[in-house]
């Protein structure tokens, strides 16, 4: 029997890991979307949410590092699978087309590496904007905390680049998950000829809900939503 490391780096092991890390990332972004929706709650809901997260202190750092590791493993395996294609087929077909039917070849599945790499670049950009950006402070329950909400509203209400750039990237996220969620089910060994169609539909629904959920907020703010609640002026 192979060792755990040999198994994890084997062809099937890599695929199981892509699925596992993919599912973990999906669970994370569901949680993240929940946090974003606080913008529609009480005026201080979003900043309160941020304060609660920061109160976890070292635990928050453990979670962040874990998430980063999962993210990097996922990106690394995904890109390496894509790079291996050429080695496995040095001479390409002059003509190639899908036979349809049960095939899951689609714009979504064929662009996984592209959408993935855009997501990787996006996340670096995103952390730089919102986690490392300059923030004012506000008082919540008599304690000083970062005014995340003001930064979010300021960013999206004043910049078409940010608002539409985010919305577009979230469409790519939807495309990644359109194949990705279904693919993860199969990677994690969920078999069943009949359940396959159901799994594909569930995957598509999850992809659409997440993409729409994420892209709605920047566009909502850009078109004037949320300004009345912010401390800053929307243009």
């Amino acid at each position: 029997m192979p060792t755990l490391l040999q198994a994890a780096t084997s062809q099937v092991g890599r695929k199981i890991l892509t699925g596992l890390t993919g599912v973990f990332l999906v669970l994370f972004i569901i949680f993240h979307l929940g946090g974003n929706l606080a913008i529609f709650g009480e005026p201080d809901a979003m900043n309160r949410y941020s304060m609660i997260l920061h109160d976890f202190g070292p635990l928050l750092w453990v979670a962040r590092i874990g998430l980063l590791a999962v993210f990097l493993i996922h990106a690394w395996i995904g890109i390496s699978i894509w790079l291996k294609k050429r080695k496995a087929r040095p001479e390409n077909y002059a003509v190639y087309s899908s036979k349809g039917g049960p095939s899951k070849q689609s714009l979504s599945s064929r662009t996984m590496a592209f959408t993935g790499i855009v997501l990787l670049i996006f996340v670096i950009f995103h952390i730089n904007t919102f986690a490392l950006g300059d923030m004012e402070t506000v008082l919540i329950d008599g304690r000083e905390t970062h005014d995340v909400k003001a930064l979010v509203i300021d960013t999206f209400s004043n910049s078409a680049f940010y608002a539409f750039g985010y919305a577009f990237t979230m469409l790519l996220l939807g495309a990644h998950l359109g194949h990705g969620v279904w693919s993860a089910f199969i990677s994690l060994g969920m078999s069943g000829k009949k359940s396959s169609a159901i799994m594909y539909t569930v995957g598509t629904v999850i992809a659409i809900v997440l993409a729409v959920g994420f892209l709605f907020i920047p566009l909502y703010i850009y078109f004037g939503g949320g300004c009345e609640a912010a401390l800053i002026q929307c243009t």
Partner: protein
């Protein structure tokens, strides 16, 4: 009975090392009742009469059961029809004046021997790695000694119908042999005779498939779409489940 003119663009390659290229042929009076391979036979007869090298292509049974034929026709393994080996394809599928591009299955693990014939012995080595059931030799056991549930027997039979043609590899954007390997595993692993060696077999065959240079699986399911016997990619999911069980 109607006849037609077919334009062919066929991959010609002298041997494994040689650089291949497409050659264009025009075939008149193609009968719509000819099978696709008979159409190639006619082409070859013409070429031989002209003193030229005939086009090499693989076949044996011409009944869709042996898995020898495996042409990639206009970019699709076994041609345009689902659940049909290319030997079972007929020229009535095409119309007068059509151009048909014929290529060998392309994969590093399937080197071209000549023209459209590739070396598929990588599949044999995957089978050698674990695609069997070890039994004590001696007199044949009583046929019904080991009861097999009907449902299990039917599923095992469905997977056993894989004819090893390699269309799954040919059509996979990554040149993965997962469907072939997984169908053999799904066939043997679920039967009482095959269960004792299930974990060892799964790990060994997966290792061999990678060693042969086949690509990773991205769950495109194109393999299922081109498989002439319709093997489901549920087998691939099952292979991963059994692999996990073997490790933990």
């Amino acid at each position: 009975m109607s006849t037609m003119t077919i334009n062919l663009k066929i991959w010609r390659q002298k041997n494994t090392e040689a650089k291949g290229e497409f050659q264009v042929y025009k075939l008149n009076d193609v009968n719509e009742h000819m099978s696709f391979l008979e159409m190639l036979d006619v082409l070859n007869e013409n070429l031989i009469k002209e003193g030229k090298d005939p086009v090499e292509f693989d076949y044996d049974c011409r009944e869709g059961i042996c898995g020898s034929c495996n042409l990639v026709v206009n970019g699709r393994a076994h041609g345009p029809k689902r659940l049909t080996a290319v030997c079972q394809l007929h020229m009535r599928t095409y119309s007068d004046g059509d151009t048909i591009v014929i290529e060998p299955p392309r994969a590093a693990a399937f080197p071209v021997i000549k023209d459209l014939v590739v070396d598929r012995s990588a599949f044999d080595r995957i089978i050698e790695a674990g695609g069997y059931v070890s039994v004590k030799t001696g007199a044949a056991p009583e046929a019904n000694l080991i009861p097999v549930q009907e449902e299990v027997a039917n599923q095992a039979f469905d997977y056993a119908t894989c004819i090893g043609c390699g269309a799954c590899v040919a059509a996979c954007p990554n040149s993965s042999a997962s469907l072939f390997t997984a169908s053999k595993l799904a066939h043997l692993n679920r039967l009482p005779q095959g269960k004792p060696e299930r974990e060892k077999r799964t790990v060994a065959m997966v290792q061999q498939m990678e060693a042969e240079g086949f690509g990773d699986c991205s769950n495109y399911a194109e393999c299922e779409a081109v498989c002439p016997v319709g093997i489901s990619i549920s087998s691939i999911a099952e292979m991963r489940k059994n692999y996990l069980k073997a490790i933990f």
